[in-house]
């Protein structure tokens, strides 16, 4: 046994030092305990939130989009379910083997397989779902479902597609939906005050209105976003999902559009380039807004092959161009009633005032000749005859005596040169030329000849089909009108054009002269008389794209289809109490009466003979 070798001094020194160390640790322990107390009690709520934020990811869920109806309650656009084959890569060990087993009874495109394999690893790491095949057929769905016990790592998921029931008829008026781009996404985040972290699940891919009514009434159609809380781990893998607030389905949109009239317009135009706009005179609502040719909206909304899209985009027919709202056409002879109104209001003419039309008008200043469309002229011509037979010479003379600024003012009051519709998508203002504009643009002063040209709706004056329809509507309604609109039962204020001289009797006579365009034996659209069983007032027009000095020159010009005159007509009926006003433009259609006229009549028929 070791000799005990210790002193009292050594023991006290040891004890003191041991106490020193233990007390040090005791103090340290108190500090630690204080820190733990701080974390768990004083700052508990802060850390509790942090832990919840860690594990919860907020996901916005888009509600089903509202349904779009026509004026009679016909569904034009709804949502239909489609079924996709969804995989859970997290539970798939061997993707090649998985595809092989699926391929034994399902046909899967090589492209789908390639996309699946390229995204597989990432989706597996994050435990995210991966769509293998979109919109599978009922047969494929059944084939999969009977074998679903063999595929716990895949399922058939339901998703809603925007379904355009009349895809070729409302392409321009209703438009289509699509995935938002970056800017549009930012806007949605801001507008709906959504969390930027939102993640749209495959079943509810975010869609927004891109054009037409889908765009204009996005707010109504889109509904209220819901929220799902997704529990994720530190690696971002999804562990579970629960609804924290359910989405509220979008409101339905009731439009003033009329299905039958669109079908009639589509059929009558038969894919020729042109546009039809019809207005309900009762409230100024648009019942027909049709541009031709059209494009397939379902494919655009739900997926179109790049090749097909490029073909549409590059087509010479320009199917995406909304001619009804953006096509700029000279109003041609259809402007004549407006010029007549101006002449009467200003006291330049009255219904008895007549000229002798020898087939041309000579500008006194320089002897320049302005030709009538009819060789030899219309002879003795008063206003009634000038409208019915569309005498150019009469209106050349009237325009010559007009003040261009006053005339412009009059045209502007009829809606030219401004947007006609309050909820149309990207409407063009078209153009009423002013002398100052010409000076700036062409560095050339306004000639008297320019005013003369405007008298027959040629020259610099251009209008859109929707403006022409509004103009027809104003005339039909004797100067009273509301702004045009597409949404049903929109509250609008009624406006009216103020006249001093132009009286109710003048309105009557103007209507009579326009009725005679069709009903009279010498009217320019008399061939339309038999196509209907009610009375219609109209004015035809033929917009010259190339001005020629005579008919012989035009025979050469018309060899090129694209340089042929545009045919147009404005009409309203049934008279004497008109209910609908319509405008039709057929590009390169040549004759307003015989080409645009029948289109207008079939649209009116569909509206009036319901």
């Amino acid at each position: 046994m070791t000799e005990i070798n210790e002193t009292y001094k050594e023991k006290t020194s040891f004890n003191k030092r041991l106490v020193f160390l233990f007390v040090t640790f005791g103090i340290l322990g108190a500090v630690f305990y204080y820190q733990i107390f701080n974390l768990q009690i004083s700052n508990y709520s802060e850390y509790e939130i942090a832990a919840k934020n860690n594990k919860n990811e907020e996901i916005s869920v888009q509600p089903l989009r509202g349904i779009i109806f026509d004026r009679n309650g016909e569904i034009l656009v709804n949502n239909i379910p489609t079924f996709d084959l969804i995989t859970k890569p997290f539970f798939i060990d061997d993707p090649d083997d998985f595809l092989l087993r699926l391929s034994s009874f399902l046909e899967i495109d090589e492209e789908d397989k390639r996309v699946f394999l390229s995204q597989f690893e990432k989706a597996k790491a994050l435990n995210k779902e991966l769509t293998l095949k979109q919109s599978i057929s009922d047969e494929d769905k059944a084939k999969f479902l009977v074998r679903s016990h063999m595929f716990e790592n895949a399922y058939v998921g339901k998703r809603y597609l925007r379904n355009y029931l009349y895809p070729k008829i409302f392409s321009h008026s209703i438009g289509y939906v699509g995935k938002p781009n970056e800017d549009e996404l930012d806007e949605i985040y801001e507008l709906k005050s959504l969390n930027k972290k939102i993640n749209f699940t495959y079943t509810n891919q975010l869609i927004i209105g891109k054009t037409g009514l889908e765009y204009t009434y996005e707010d109504i159609l889109t509904g209220e976003f819901g929220n799902n809380l997704r529990e994720v781990d530190a690696r971002g893998r999804t562990l579970g999902e629960k609804i924290s607030s359910a989405p509220i389905i979008g409101n339905n949109l009731y439009t003033s559009l009329d299905l039958k009239s669109h079908q009639a317009a589509h059929k009558a135009l038969n894919n020729r380039k042109g546009a039809v706009v019809a207005i309900d005179i009762k409230d100024g609502s648009i019942v027909t807004l049709f541009s031709s040719p059209t494009f397939p909206t379902n494919q655009l909304a739900n997926g179109i092959l790049q090749k097909d899209f490029d073909e549409l985009l590059l087509s010479e027919e320009k199917p995406f161009f909304n001619r009804a709202l953006k096509g700029r056409y000279p109003p041609a002879s259809a402007i004549k009633p407006a010029i007549a109104m101006y002449g009467i209001e200003e006291g330049l003419i009255d219904w008895n005032f007549s000229i002798f039309d020898e087939g041309f008008f000579t500008l006194p200043e320089d002897g320049r000749i302005y030709r009538d469309w009819k060789e030899g002229g219309h002879g003795n011509t008063n206003l009634f005859k000038a409208i019915t037979q569309s005498s150019n010479t009469y209106f050349f003379d009237l325009a010559y005596r007009s003040d261009i600024n006053q005339l412009n003012k009059h045209l502007l009051s009829l809606g030219f040169g401004d947007k006609a519709c309050i909820d149309c998508f990207e409407e063009d203002k078209a153009f009423v030329p002013e002398p100052s504009w010409k000076m700036n643009k062409h560095n050339f002063g306004w000639f008297k000849g320019d005013t003369v040209n405007m008298g027959v709706g040629q020259g610099y004056l251009v209008s859109t089909p929707v403006q022409l329809a509004k103009y027809a509507y104003i005339m039909a309604n004797k100067g009273k009108f509301s702004d045009l609109s597409l949404k049903k039962d929109l509250v609008k204020s009624e406006k009216s054009i103020e006249f001093n001289k132009f009286s109710n009797d003048d309105w009557f006579k103007l209507h009579e002269s326009m009725i005679n365009v069709i009903e009279g034996n010498t009217g320019t659209a008399r061939r339309l008389r038999e196509k209907k069983n009610y009375i219609v007032a109209a004015k035809t027009g033929t917009a010259e794209l190339v001005s020629g000095d005579n008919r012989e020159q035009y025979s050469e010009t018309r060899l090129d289809d694209n340089l042929r005159d545009h045919a147009l007509i404005i009409a309203f009926g049934p008279m004497p109490n008109p209910r609908y006003a319509v405008s039709v433009v057929v590009e390169n259609g040549e004759s307003g009466g015989s080409v645009a006229g029948p289109v207008a009549i079939s649209v009116l028929n569909s509206l009036i003979q319901e």
């Binding site: 040891f14 340290l28 630690f32 508990y44």
Partner: protein, 365 residues
């Protein structure tokens, strides 16, 4: 005269330590089960270690302290040789050579050094006169640093620091002169910048920097500490319940079975759970203090004091790191974290402590 009475078989034990350590070990298994996400194989393996560790502890309590005195050099030598074997022949895991593989189990021999280095130093200083002269002081310090550098070259900074502390505790308790301590501290502080630049790896410097400013790198080196604090803080008073910790079970918290198990306990059992756990540790701490003061001789005093301070230091470094007061360094929560080597080394330490406390001094008849 128990030790001479061969007819009577007696067992040497300390009921307070044995009960509290067993309780802590069982509680540890319970915590580990949740921390490992209910992994049965982890739990079974750990249970085997606990079971045999407790037996080993009782077994090691039986020999007279004299044995440990006589063989302390031998034990230390064996430990150091094993460390070398690990360095040169052991499997490389995560760029470190700390382990020796025995097929079914891998052990970390450096853990043994933190037990046998203080015992050897205690035995060496037992015979020297007070105050310890400079020669003995330097010899001891030289030995401590040799072992420190061997272990830190594995590399294993955490264990090396504990080994360094274990030696220094004994040296301090044995009566290192205050003058020496003062000058050593002064030199240490002056050379801190030098040490910082030359001895710390960039990642270690980063860990210390983020301790003072976690915003420096919230997703990098501060990630662990941030997540650990969230886990502890979100536990609140009562915790989220057994197996309900979102931070630990959703992988936000790293190393849940080992270094960060304290945060798991905090998240799932709250302040109440932590208070119970820390009371158990505190009880062991106080009992060791008592046993150390009342030990039969200087050797036993130094060993009990040194070993219990090793235990306490490990505990404090672990908790300090998890609650964000100390830089991140690999350090288990004693008797609870997963890992056989750490467990076994503490059972050995407590076995020796009990032996030293329960064998009374030989009194001449």
């Amino acid at each position: 005269m128990r030790y001479l009475d061969f007819k009577r078989f007696s067992i040497y034990y300390d009921p307070y330590l044995i009960i509290s350590i067993t309780l802590l070990s069982i509680l540890g298994l319970f915590f580990l089960y949740s921390a490992s996400d209910g992994n049965a194989s982890v739990l079974i393996k750990q249970s085997i270690f606990v079971f045999f560790g407790l037996i080993l502890m009782i077994v090691l309590s039986q020999p007279d302290p004299q044995i440990y005195y006589s063989y302390s050099g031998f034990f230390l030598l064996i430990s150091i040789i094993l460390v070398f074997i690990a360095i040169f022949f052991g499997p490389e895991i995560n760029g470190a050579n700390r382990w020796i593989s025995f097929g079914f189990v891998t052990l970390q021999p450096s853990e043994l050094c933190k037990v046998f280095l203080p015992i050897f130093i205690a035995s060496y200083l037992y015979g020297v006169n007070l105050p310890i002269n400079l020669k003995n002081t330097f010899l001891t310090i030289f030995l401590i640093f040799v072992v420190f550098f061997i272990v830190s070259s594995q590399p294993d900074l955490g264990t090396a620091i504990v080994i360094l502390l274990s030696g220094l505790y004994v040296l301090f308790l044995a009566g290192l002169s205050w003058t020496f301590i003062g000058s050593a501290l002064a030199i240490f502080i002056i050379s801190l910048p030098f040490l910082w630049n030359n001895f710390l790896e960039p990642f270690q410097r980063q860990r210390i920097a983020t301790l003072f400013n976690p915003d420096l790198d919230p997703f990098g080196s501060a990630w662990n500490i941030t997540q650990s604090k969230i886990a502890i803080g979100s536990g609140g008073i009562l915790g989220k319940g057994f197996g309900e910790g979102t931070q630990s079970h959703l992988y936000f918290l790293p190393e849940t079975e080992t270094d960060f198990i304290f945060a798991v306990i905090a998240e799932e059992f709250g302040l109440v759970g932590l208070t119970i756990l820390m009371s158990l540790y505190f009880f062991i701490f106080i009992r060791c203090f008592y046993l150390s003061i009342n030990a039969r001789d200087r050797f036993c005093r130094l060993v009990i004091g040194g070993l219990s301070l090793v235990f306490i230091s490990t505990l404090f470094i672990n908790i300090g790191m998890v609650i964000g007061l100390l830089p991140v360094v690999g350090m288990p929560l004693p008797l609870i974290s997963q890992g056989g080597s750490s467990l076994i080394s503490f059972y050995i330490a407590f076995g020796i402590i009990i032996s030293m406390a329960s064998h009374k001094k030989l009194v001449p008849r």
